[in-house]
């Protein structure tokens, strides 16, 4: 199986084909007639591919590819973390994805609560959290994070008659609304968006059509192998250049116009979109996914009285005030603009949420060697 996987990957990891796409990018950026050309992607997996394969060093120097709010763990807001921490300290067993444990709340993270003796379990899927509830008589709260892709898995579990002692503290987020917010930020000057291929397998490409109409900004859906990213960017620049903003699907081997209709039905049967703050970004109308009334019995917020006020009498340390996660997630700043990056703030001792999650911009940059500007390296002896 492993060998077949490796061979399949090769198809999308062919440096020769990449060279052609890079040349096309250079031509399109030059043809734009202004510099720089700025585009945004909204997905940690895209940033992973860009960083891991060193693509930024190969982009034309006048192309800025910015990572926007594409890390669901990073945008989980402080009050949401506080809710989970307060419940854990009340003695309720919490299950969540590993990344969520170290996201800072007002004064504590779930990891801090765990170190003080609270019952906090790391799970790899919502199904594991349900199994946990089946094994224990006590209440098990699943602190749920992730965009619409992950939210479908949570919905599927709630539709499948989970045990009575299981409930969901939803911090699920919905990506399309935050794109509207970022598009309207005057500082960003974004000319087009690269949308996440995996999320679009659920939502379909058509979910972006209204956005394009409203903002006049093109959206291209792209996959996650290096050639997918490059091909997506070429398509995006072509559409920008054409002057006719539209939605294009550069990931047709997985994404359709309608998307996964059954998954969408499950998602919207269980969840409703509601407004809420995304950490560091803004209040995002319809950006949060909360449980519908029909599923109130599984909604942690309605099942428990959560009092997080004890966590609030606390002044954040000075380092936190220097953290630029908000600007980085909004695409206004880069990790290398932050004075803490790689010094006071590392994956070992993160200051901000962007250094915590495997999908956070800072963590990804740190993992792949920091500042990516390597265009000038000369080979051979002097």
């Amino acid at each position: 199986m492993a060998q077949a996987d490796a061979l399949t990957q090769l198809k999308f990891r062919d440096p020769t084909r990449a060279r052609g796409l890079r040349d096309a990018l250079a031509r399109l950026v030059a043809a734009a007639g202004h510099a720089p050309v700025s585009v945004m992607h909204v997905c940690g997996s895209h940033e992973q591919a860009i960083a891991k394969f060193g693509l930024r060093a190969a982009f034309p120097s006048d192309l800025r590819v910015i990572m926007g709010p594409g890390c669901p763990v990073c945008v989980t807001d402080v009050p949401e973390v506080d809710e989970a921490v307060a419940l854990a300290k009340q003695g309720v067993r919490i299950a969540s994805y590993g990344d969520m444990l170290r996201v800072p709340g007002t004064s504590q993270s779930l990891a801090d609560a765990k170190a003080e003796g609270a019952e906090v379990d790391v799970v790899y899927s919502v199904t594991q959290a349900v199994e946990l509830a089946r094994r224990h008589d006590e209440e098990v709260v699943f602190f749920a994070s992730g965009f619409e892709t992950t939210a479908v898995a949570t919905a599927a579990v709630l539709l499948d008659d989970p045990p009575e002692n299981f409930s969901v503290l939803s911090a699920h987020k919905y990506i399309p609304p935050v794109m509207e917010i970022v598009a309207e930020m005057p500082e960003t000057k974004i000319e087009g968006f690269l949308a996440a291929g995996h999320a679009a397998t659920i939502t379909g490409s058509q979910v972006f059509e209204k956005f394009v109409e409203r903002h006049g900004l093109p959206v291209v859906i792209a996959g996650f192998e290096p050639l997918d990213v490059l091909a997506g960017l070429v398509k995006l620049l072509e559409v920008i250049h054409s002057g006719r903003p539209r939605v294009e699907n550069a990931f047709p081997r997985c994404v359709t116009k309608e998307g996964n209709l059954q998954a969408q039905r499950m998602l919207w049967r269980v969840f409703r979109p509601t407004g809420g703050r995304w950490r560091g970004i803004a209040h995002v109308p319809n950006g949060n996914l909360r449980l519908r009334d029909e599923y109130a019995r599984y909604d942690t917020r309605r099942r428990f009285t959560i009092d997080a006020s004890a966590l609030w009498e606390y002044a954040p340390p000075k380092l936190v005030q220097q953290c630029q996660c908000g600007d980085i997630m909004a695409g206004i700043a880069s990790p290398s603009d932050c004075t803490l990056f790689g010094k006071e703030c590392t994956p070992d001792s993160p200051v901000g949420a962007c250094m915590v999650s495997a999908e956070g911009t800072c963590k990804i940059w740190h993992q792949y060697g920091g500042r990516p500007d390597l265009r000038s390296i000369k080979r051979g002896a002097a």
């Binding site: 490796a6 440096p15 990449a18 960083a51 060193g54 290096p226 990516p372 390296i377 000369k378």
Partner: protein, 346 residues
């Protein structure tokens, strides 16, 4: 070039044992202070090389030591016994000393350790010593209480004589970087046994003594073999960073030329572990002057342990102390391994 200016923490945590910058900081700031002078022409503790070299007339006495805490103690492709012999033999070889005179071995056992397991591991030690052509001439045995240590810890020390010592600091711009085989096999084989995903793989550790392979390279390459390092903990990335840092050069690596088993690549992606930071226990990284690089490559490839050897990069003047990875799509800096990702790998 001080890439690790930070001070070490109040408590020594697992990250100080993973072979990266944190461990180097610990050695510099605590363990090596005021120790390790070996006199004119030798290599002492401050060099933080694979071993020490003390001048004796026109030759050098090379000493290397290694402790082994691997978990599990028996793993696909080897066990802690074979590992403890190879670890020290390979460290000696990396200094240019490819004929070990003798080894010592100290064992610390946990109360209740099964005699049959111990006998099996000592069979493996004997077999590996025979393979190398050396033996254990002295040792020490201690037993600690149940729960005070996990099973078995081994330490070996080796001595050998050589006329030419090779450090890990001899690189200059233009030199080629050679790896003697596939990268990451040991680390990923161990991680695959441990991970709770319960992977069913055919991954095997590469644990093997590389002294005869290195001898062949030195016979062909002579003075043009200018630096050597075994990429154990922290893998190729750690070895290259140390070599670049100590030599004051940058190293550019062509990622597509690095030999990797398909299964190592696949399991690495699955576990999120880059094979370039995963340990090897039967490989070496060599720095070669360009003139003899191809000849050394041919010689290494003719050795059974070197069939997959490749020249994977070269040294540059820019970015001293850093390693640039040319991915074929673009380039990025190779990150140094940090944190406690891979504890007790060797």
């Amino acid at each position: 070039m001080s890439r690790n200016p930070r001070l070490i923490d109040e408590r020594i945590t697992l990250k100080y044992g993973t072979g990266g910058g944190a461990m180097r900081a610990l050695i510099e700031q605590v363990l090596a202070r005021g120790l390790g002078e070996v006199g004119e022409g030798g290599i002492g503790l401050a060099a933080m090389d694979d071993g020490a070299a003390i001048r004796l007339g026109d030759r050098f006495l090379v000493i290397a030591t290694d402790s082994h805490v691997v978990q599990p103690i028996e793993f696909p492709g080897g066990d802690i016994g074979r590992l403890s012999i190879c670890g020290t033999v390979n460290d000696l070889a990396m200094m240019g000393a490819t004929e070990p005179l003798a080894l010592t071995c100290s064992a610390i056992l946990e109360d209740g350790f099964p005699r049959r397991d111990l006998e099996r591991i000592w069979d493996s030690i004997r077999a590996t010593c025979d393979e190398v052509g050396t033996t254990i001439v002295t040792g020490d045995t201690k037993v600690m209480g149940h729960g005070e240590l996990d099973g078995l810890v081994l330490n070996t020390t080796g001595v050998a004589l050589t006329t030419r010592v090779i450090s890990d600091a001899g690189l200059r711009p233009g030199d080629r970087i050679l790896v003697t085989g596939t990268m990451g096999d040991h680390g990923l084989a161990i991680m695959a046994t441990r991970n709770e995903l319960a992977l069913d793989t055919t991954l095997e550790s590469d644990v093997a003594p590389v002294h005869s392979l290195v001898r062949r390279a030195l016979d062909v390459g002579g003075d043009d073999v200018v630096a050597m390092k075994d990429p154990t903990r922290g893998g190729l990335s750690s070895a290259l960073h140390e070599m670049a840092d100590k030599s004051g050069v940058g190293i550019v690596i062509d990622e597509t030329t690095i030999p990797l088993r398909d299964e190592v690549r696949a399991v690495g992606e699955l576990l999120g572990i880059d094979p370039l930071i995963a340990a090897n226990e039967g490989k070496a990284v060599l720095g070669l002057r360009p003139a003899r690089a191809d000849a050394v490559l041919d010689a290494i490839r003719s050795h059974p342990l070197g069939r997959n050897a490749a020249i994977v990069g070269e040294c540059v003047e820019e970015r001293p102390g850093f390693v640039v990875l040319d991915t074929g799509f673009g380039s990025r800096l190779l990150a140094e391994p940090e944190g406690e990702l891979l504890p007790r790998i060797c």
